[in-house]
Amino acid sequence: MINLIMAIQILSFFFIFRSISRYHFTIKEITVWLVVFLMIGFISTYFIGVWGAITLFFCFVGISYFKNHRTFTALGVFYGAYALVMNSFIGYLAADPITSVVEFIFKQSTANIDYLPYLFTAIAPPVINEIGLRLVRHYVPQLNKEILQESSKVILFPVIVLFIIIIISVYPILTIGNETGDFNSFHRALLVGMWLLFIIALLYMQFQYTHIHKREIEKAKSEQLVQLKDYAAQLEKIYDEFRGFRHDYANILLTLEDGIYREDWEQVKQVYEQTVKPTGQLMRKNEYSFVKLRNLHVSEVKSILAAKIIMAQQMKIDVALEIEEPIHLIQMELISFTRILSVLLDNAIEAAAKTEKAKISIVLLEDPTIQRIKIENSSGEQVSLRRLGERGYSSKGKGRGLGLYNVQQMLKENNFASLETEAQSNLFSQTLILRKTGERK
């Protein structure tokens, strides 16, 4: 029986880790990891007692290492530490209530129920943790993993250090408690202090996150303001061109009228060839497709598109924009979306700039069930479709190529987004396909 309870305890570490990290595990992976955990857990517990849990901590860091494409991340360490502390924390809190409830329910029972409280106490942490996390995730907007990673020095490191302090100070006390069955008052106070520290650590994390998130939004907002100003300036420029054209137009009509009344066909022909015809070419400039941005009613996306289009046009790239239907909503979290869009646009601009007839097409399509964002650019070199998006692979040369890798990392978290990449002889395009879920605001 004691072995069963221990197995459950070991497994509950894994389930807490799984639910906080939200890594995807296939059934095969889960089975393999559980077996590995049981083996490591039993062996290490046999030799070093409660400290066996520490070996599991290193297992978690190991899992995170593989789940993050063989890189160590602060987030991965955090998940491991969280699983360890949370398991002991809930176990400690739940032990007494569960014992009394079990004793109350089975008061009349004559069967041997000594093990029942232990059993329930062992099962409690993953269950309570799961329920708690779901509640938190339901009511608090999801933390953006990108922000957590980027600001890990401020947000994650202090928390991880606190967690480790908690583990180091709590585990010996728990060991003593296990052996003697009770804690003395000093140990009790230390435990309570440590649990308070744990809660403070979590609150600190939430506080720092909100703070940084806010700062991020403010930064984005002020960038957006600058971009919208550029957008307005560009619109004014286009308007000026049109005003000039309108002015010329009146003169042209007068000259034509004069020629027609005097039946001077030579003059009419000359005016038409020299002044009217060229205006047709003016109308054909793609620069005016810029105005189609008016159909896009998401200002965060509008400003970034405007900024990149202006940048591309300054680099003498012909930019064609197609937004034929009004778009009021992007089917994706906006911070991630604007980042992905920036990377795709930057790549397109950089690739197009190297070609002779530099051209970019940006298309936003709104269908009843999906949204499509297609970015197409003229391309000179052959791109390996298979290797695209590998960390560090770039057609631009060594040490580059993190952009697209990051795009794929962000898309990994989003099941409703698909990325289509197409390479033809002189064209390269990427299409982000967003499935409408109807769940978003």
């Binding site: 494409h69 109308m283 054909r284 064609a320 298309v363 399509l365 099941n415 289509e420 396909i433 499935r435």
Partner: protein, 196 residues
Amino acid sequence: MNIYILEDNLIQQQRLERIIKSLSLKHQIRYRNLFSTAKPEHLLSQIENVADHQLYFLDLEIKHEEHKGLAVAKEIRKKDPYGTIVFVTTHSELAPITFEYRVAALDFIEKELREEEFIQKVEECLLIADSRRTIPVSPDNFSFENKYTSFQIPFSDIFYFETMEIAHKIRLITKSKVLDFYAGTFKLIIKQRQPA
């Protein structure tokens, strides 16, 4: 083959008719009817025999109603999924990629083109439509739709599917495309493969 022209400017309408007639003579393209109109409803009511291949020349802007042309094209597609649609339009209304997605339009002919270029474009479209008359268009598409994504790819373009390191994400490799999508389970894909 039937040829339809939707154009509200009479001069442009006659110009296009003239060009089509002379090109048909030149290439010995035989068509049953050449039908010109300025009214979308007339055009739509005329589409009957879909078994025959049809070629449509559509102006995008009819009587200053924006996207009338696109709406008409969508209606036509409902009645005639395999007809050849060509937009004849001014540059400012041009949105090639959008219309290719929406109604699989074959081409766009800008009205501002020089006469020779314009005729050449019409000629290309006529010849393509004429060749489609004899070769049936294969509608053999692999269409995939689940909670997370939705797309169509011709079966003949598909090379293979592969799994990615992320659970449930699938990568589809075709002749010229790579598509990463969330599949849920791979069983679903196998199910979609079977003809309904």
